[in-house]
Symmetry: C2
Subunit: 483 residues, 2 copies
């Protein structure tokens, strides 16, 4: 007994002794009413100071594991936690789950997605390259903010968000050309929470939503989870097909539209400024809320300036802009924002409060201080240069090795490849995986069951050498499959 106790670094010794004793009591190695060794003996047995044992025994008494008999010593409590037989009820949980839970699991690509074994070259991720993170600036932002108002940051915040961050984003969006009059901002746990809060607030008449086709698979998932039917509009080289959109608008009824104008996921297309104008002119004729996914628009590293749709809408109030620095900065900080008409935000704030009370104040305040300190500009310069380099390398490799029919992607963190109709990228994926290379088959981005001949290549987290090797494998394998 007491031979398997091992100290680890950085955790107080008395707590380790206490944890160890609890473990022995719970697993039954020490039994009810059994006398424990004296604190002096125990110190010798475990090779720790007697004071640590004294503190551990006190903690054990506080927590109900031990009782003291004055003048005689410490005894294991017969009713110690984990030692009393309870009243078990064994439930069949599946019988208690609803269709929503089943659908969430079914649409959860993380549960059914392809797994990369160690050493696999993976083009599946479009998360940022963590090697680019400027950790020292994040640390400084944390320490700066803690020094200013640490106590406040750790207590409850406001559902609407951390005021300095809201004010910062207000100016930030104004400088993107947004007419902020009558608009307001709600901070959320990233894009995803913002999207869900908006969907849970919108009136449902037709039960149908307009999107680009293909489109962001998380959006497809959440639209389905909210019970919406999806009408996807095909893409052209410079963005959504306006003629098809107009036709759909004339023929059907929609509760809202969801568009990704910049670095559209998965095609990587940036909608042209002219098309943005035409799109908003067209949409102005319909009473349909437009959800704009501001995804990665900060990453633009080539071409002329483009304004978000909410800026193109001028003084209008029909656009709900969902912003996030996640893909550009740090996905680990779960901070996004909804920018929209202030009346809408007023209601969304109540839903946000009901769902998660508020977004981590620490995340918000670190992000705010990081932005205030001027780090975003510096970081973007570095990140854009690096991603541009990788983009051009990937593009070059694709041109060299892949017999594609169409390739899109105006920068960002990924490219989108379409082979000839009839080609199946799931088969290609299986064949490539066997050779240690994976990517995302395009099917999951399609709203109409199409896209079997497409694939998305995320290059942000792939090393140059692996980009070269991986694309060559994909190209050669595709060529072989084409026969």
């Amino acid at each position: 007994m007491f031979k398997d106790f091992k100290l680890i670094a950085g955790r107080p010794v008395y707590i380790q002794v206490k944890d160890y004793m609890k473990h022995l009591i719970i697993k039954g190695a020490l039994q009810g009413d059994q006398k424990l060794p004296s604190t002096r003996e125990m110190g010798v047995l475990l090779q720790v100071s007697r004071n640590s044992v004294i503190a551990a025994y006190e903690g054990l008494e506080d927590d109900g594991f031990v009782y003291v008999v004055k003048g005689r010593g410490n005894y294991v409590a017969p009713s110690a936690p984990g030692t009393v037989k309870g009243s078990p009820r064994i439930m069949d949980w599946k019988a208690h789950l609803n269709g929503h839970a089943m659908l969430a699991e079914e649409l959860d690509i993380m549960k059914y997605g392809i797994r990369a074994e160690k050493g696999t070259i993976s083009f599946t991720s479009i998360a940022p390259d963590e090697g680019l993170f400027d950790l020292d600036n994040v640390k400084r932002a944390f320490m700066d903010r803690m020094a200013v108002e640490g106590n406040v940051l750790l207590n409850y915040g406001y559902a609407k968000g951390y005021k300095p961050l809201i004010d910062y984003l207000h100016q930030y969006m104004e400088h993107k050309g947004v007419d902020m009059k009558g608009k307001d901002i709600l901070i959320t746990n990233g894009f995803t929470e913002g999207f869900n809060i908006v969907l849970s607030a919108l009136n449902r008449k037709s039960g149908h939503v307009l999107t680009e086709n293909p489109t962001h698979h998380t959006a497809i998932k959440n639209l389905k989870l909210h019970g919406f039917g999806i009408k996807g509009i095909p893409m052209e080289r410079d963005g959504i097909h306006l003629g098809e959109l107009e036709k759909a608008l004339d023929e059907g009824e929609y509760d809202c539209a969801y568009f990704v104008p910049s670095y559209h996921n998965p095609t990587g297309i940036v909608m042209s400024p002219e098309k943005r104008q035409s799109l908003m002119k067209l949409m102005a004729g319909y009473d349909i809320p437009l959800i704009e996914d501001g995804f990665n628009e900060e990453l633009r590293y080539s071409g002329s300036h483009v304004s978000p749709l909410i800026a193109t809408a001028g003084a209008g109030n029909s656009v709900i802009y969902l912003g996030s620095f996640s893909k550009v900065l740090f996905p680990g900080l779960r901070v996004g924002w909804v920018l929209a008409d202030q009346e809408l935000i007023y209601y969304l704030e109540s839903i946000k409060r009901a769902q998660t009370i508020h977004t981590s104040t620490l995340d918000q305040s670190i992000l705010y201080q990081y932005l205030y300190n001027g780090n975003l500009e510096k970081y973007l310069k570095k990140a854009r240069a690096e991603y541009k380099r990788k983009y051009e390398l990937t593009l070059e490799c694709c041109k060299q090795h892949v017999h594609y029919q169409a390739l899109t992607g105006d920068g960002g963190l990924h490219l989108f490849v379409a082979f000839a109709e009839g080609f199946n990228t799931r088969e290609l994926l299986e064949a490539c995986r066997a050779q240690g290379v994976i990517f995302t088959a395009g099917e999951m981005f399609y709203t109409d069951g199409g896209g079997q001949h497409t694939m998305r290549l995320g290059f942000s987290r792939v090393a140059d050498e692996d980009i070269r090797k991986g694309i060559e494998v994909i190209g050669k394998t595709a060529h072989k499959l084409m026969g």
Copy 2:
């Protein structure tokens, strides 16, 4: 022009110049195709270095605000963001919102709750006293963790949660006596998200839920938002009335039960160990999932050890335990957890991923490191002593000044007072507010429209002197109103 430029500290000068120029262009003070002063002139005008102006002008060009004519200088872009007239669509947002959004707003007590003016003595909060926060240990936890794996923490994490924290909580709950076999943990953005995720997964047959009456108003709100009817069971001095519960179980059908066994909100009652055993024995006879709110059980500073219901359930799998350190440690860190049967957690994980992807890794890792470093134990010792002192003071003041009919609260951060039936605490609140003292009228905690004669007194954030003054005002005013 350029006279109202003012430098602020800590933000790079060139960004401030850039922001300032953007502002001038957007508000129309600088017009399309207007030539900007040379970088040298501008440096003099704004009293900043020429290099800062050069960097600012470059940024303005990148962002589409300025164009350069070689050899001639910088000009305002005629299509600069914010200067182009868009295609506005003005929408009546109320017509696009559904009943859920309306109900969320209607039940949002922050929107309709009483506001405290500066100087008001407020007994409304049951948040922790931020003066107790050990900021240095939080900073150390942050720096420790960043040093170990900063890059990883800032990139995407897992929906299920941060592995080291999950492992820690696994042992933590085991040491509370929970049989962890077949159980698993999901990290959430505090209690509230956990509660909502569970409710959104549960099968609905009867559409009714069992709770204590009164109970936590956030739970009432979210149960209503999920469309559940609530059957409240009255409280006794040592917890829920088992006879009434049994009657309800016999007479009705329920999709789940929600109980708060420790420091029950609002009554402050800690359910006795014996009652916990009897409750679980009773519940074991029914196929009803039991949601246990682990609220504040860490705060216990008197009386014998009590086990959570999920421990009392032994090897059973019917209890869903919702844990959080928010009220005990730092509410600003939005971290809670769901401990339940692993099959249930498997589905809840997919819902969590769909709703918010994952909880802030930074929050989780700071909390983990803070716990690992052994700070919780130290902090609890300090916090318990302080809250105990305040509890006893508040209790003493109530006994001295308030003619109550019943007073409950076994510690924690609040007391609950019931006057004679017929007395109205909303009227009392109005009269006290006029004298600069507020509290929470009890009505909102009742599931059946009752409780008009009750009030909750949160003392955690009230100074000793204010406790004395405030309770005296409440007592005298109540006495006067009783006539």
